[in-house]
Amino acid sequence: MVSFGTQPGSRSYLGMIGVALKMLMGDPVKYFGLVFGIGFSTLLMSQQASIFVGLLTWGANPVLDVRQAQIWVMDPRVKQPDQGQPISDQSLYRVRSVDGVAWAVPYARSAATVKTMQGNIAAVTLVGVDNQSMVGLPEENLANSMEAIRGRNAAILDGNTTHLIWSDGRDPIGEAVEINDNRVVVTGLTSSLTNFSGLPTLYMKYSDAIAITPPERNKLSFVLVEAKPGIAPEALAQRISEVTGLKALTRQQFAAAGTQFIIENTGIPISFGAAIGLGILVAVVITALTLAMFVAENLKNFGALKAIGVTNRQILVMVLSQALLVGFIGYGIGIGGTAAFLYFGQADPSLRGFKALGEIVGGSALLVMVIALGSAYVSVRKVLKLDPAIVFRG
């Protein structure tokens, strides 16, 4: 035991903290109650927030998947990447003719239905990438994809979603499928980011993709543009809009537009907001109630401590350190659970699109700390007002 009073200062505080932590761990029920209460609510908050943010990014992922281009040019009415409003093929040349454009390539994106040899039907997102530059192919397995896509009506499939087309888990490479009465052979696998529609993405050469889609006046969905060195993409996008009359957005602007579209057009913000709010509520209620009970039960002990000369300030530090400890452990369990959920969930294709974001890890840490410390402060006020004489009265 550390002697009190004789050596005030940091050492005495450390000693008090030691006492406080012994007190806490000496009551396993409340200790574990607090830890798991905070842990559960942290898990709820961070996991739901991750899924929420993940869902929102799904709207932006078709854009984020294309890492090679800075600017997307589209019909002025297009609000998000999966909205097909094709523009004239001639737009490609008009965009290329704008000063400051280093290169511009066509990019087709449309919905299609795949019929397998086994008789299944599946909806897919059909992407046509520029025959020459292959801009738009995901970076993963790129060298192989470039080789595999060159053949006539050859397609690269997103390897994470093959189960949506072949539920028997077969290797899709070499499988022939039928799209609009055309034979298409899957020649390679890649990995694309999950998109909001959840449909498998099938990559083909631009010429093949527009040849097998139904007749339409226009088929060019987007023109992907790179600015010349030294030219800001934002300024160039502005100039392309002015010259061609089309809508030109930078990669980030269009990704944000995809996210914004989901926020505006789905119930996701409300449902996930409610879940996250419930997580916060559970955390506040459990932490505050349990801490208050813990403090109330130990009121006599605190009184005794006060009676032997422990200052209010020291008691405050004691309770706060208890709160911080349970907060830390609870947070660790919760965030660890979320991290494990996301990390091991990657194996499951349907969970693959959710990301573990540093913002969520840090934000929930901050939130847990505020809740724990706030609850501790509220609980400890009774002790601070406590008359040490109570020990002797009881």
């Binding site: 001639q90 003719s97 040849a211 452990i329 660890g336 890890v361």
Partner: protein, 427 residues
């Protein structure tokens, strides 16, 4: 502080939590990555050109593609060229079957020969016809002489008739006198008043006068018969003259006819000769020849196939002059104003954007055309393009007619166009 099992138990949770937090931090998803390089170089504007007009270009021969057609239809018997061959102007490309025309030519040549013989025969008949005509003319003269003679005979007969009639008149008068005298004796009732002798003498005189008269009458009748016969002779002579004249006319007509026949035969001979020439020209036309010097780009005809005359969807032989090559550059009409005639340009072939091919300006096509989309198959007419023709030297470049190129034409800066559009929007 001593490390006791109890302490370890107490520290288990915080250490575990630290580990979990560490795990969470370590498994953070990587941030969004941007700015990857294109997998393969895309067609890009030349870095040294600040302003360009980009356009689709299609390679074509400098002569444009010539779809060589056949003038005649028929089965191909021989093909003289292969795709890719360089041929001179007039070089044979393929030959159609010529047996029918060859036989026809022989028949025509025979017909020509026959017509020539006919013409000679017709011409030779004309002199004999002319001789006939001369004979007929001589017959006319003879007949005319006969007519004159007959007229003389008529005149003579008429004179004799007048003479005999005059003699008959005299005899009639003498007869009347003798009768009157005899009458006088008859009126005398007393036979004795007049001697029988006298009476008889008077009677004989009367009878003599009567005989003379009868004789005279006979002479008149004879003279009349002579006149009639002379007149008949004249009529005959005149009829002969008419016949001679008709014969002459007919002879003349047959000369004309003969001459016409000769001319017709001559014309027929000429026609037959011309006919034969037509067939031999057709025989020559069976061999289809290269209209210009150039390269055979495509051969859609093989030995034994039927080649139709007239325009075909797929020409029998496509050829063109490939040095230099031309590129038909389709410049959007909205960008056309930025391109000056003679502006330099660079192009890259599909599939190899890193290799830039310098182009030299040839001309603008004077007529703007609806853009034909070559990628999608179907023709779309939503925009019009001004076509500029550029040339490049194909040596050392594997470029094929019909290939597409990404062309970047050096152009005026776009700033002015943007400004004018802004003002247009403001209105």
């Amino acid at each position: 502080m001593k490390v006791t099992p109890q302490l370890l138990r107490r520290l288990a949770l915080p250490i575990g939590a630290t580990g979990l937090i560490g795990f969470a931090v370590l498994t953070l998803s990587p941030p969004d990555k941007a700015g990857a390089a294109p997998p393969a170089p895309p067609a890009s504007a030349p870095a040294d050109q600040s302003s360009v007009v980009a356009a689709l270009g299609v390679i074509e021969p400098s002569s444009e593609v010539i779809g060589v057609g056949s003038e005649l239809s028929g089965v191909v018997r021989e093909v003289f060229v292969k795709p890719g061959d360089q041929v001179a102007a007039g070089a044979p490309l393929f030959r159609l079957d010529g047996r029918a025309l060859g036989a026809n030519l022989e028949a025509q040549l025979a017909a020509a020969q026959q017509a020539r013989a006919n013409s000679a025969a017709s011409a030779s008949r004309v002199p004999s016809l002319q001789a006939n005509a001369a004979n007929a003319a001589a017959g006319i003269a003879q007949a005319e002489a006969g007519v004159t003679t007959a007229r003389g005979a008529v005149t003579q007969a008429e004179g004799r008739l007048a003479n005999t009639q005059a003699a008959a008149d005299v005899a009639r008068l003498a007869l009347a006198d003798a009768q009157a005298r005899l009458g006088l004796f008859a009126t005398i009732s007393d036979p004795r008043a007049v001697s029988t002798d006298e009476r008889d003498r008077a009677k004989f005189a009367m009878e003599r006068a009567k005989a003379a008269y009868d004789q005279a009458r006979g002479a008149v009748l004879e003279a009349e018969g002579g006149l009639t016969s002379a007149r008949g002779g004249l009529g005959d002579a005149q009829a002969r003259l008419a016949a001679a004249k008709a014969a002459s006319a007919s002879a003349k007509a047959s000369i004309l006819e003969g001459q016409q026949a000769a001319l017709a035969a001559q014309a027929g001979a000429a026609q037959a000769a011309a006919q034969a020439k037509v067939v031999s020209t057709d025989l020559e036309r069976l061999i289809v020849r290269a209209p210009i010097a150039g390269q055979v780009l495509r051969l859609n005809i093989r030995v034994g196939e039927f080649a139709s005359a007239g325009p075909l969807a797929e020409p029998l032989v496509a050829m063109g002059a490939v040095t230099p090559m031309h590129v038909r550059v389709q410049i959007d009409e909205e960008d056309a104003a930025r391109v000056a005639a003679g502006a330099p340009a660079q192009a890259s072939l599909r599939g190899d954007a890193s290799k830039r091919i310098p182009l030299t300006f040839v001309r603008f096509e004077p007529q703007a055309m609806p853009k034909k989309n070559l990628n999608g198959g179907a023709e779309r007419v939503d925009t019009r393009v001004v076509e500029a023709i550029y040339a490049f030297n194909p040596s050392g470049i594997q470029a094929f007619v019909g290939q597409q190129m990404d062309v970047f034409v050096t152009a005026k800066p776009i700033a002015r166009a943007a400004a004018s559009q802004k003002s247009g929007d403001a209105k």
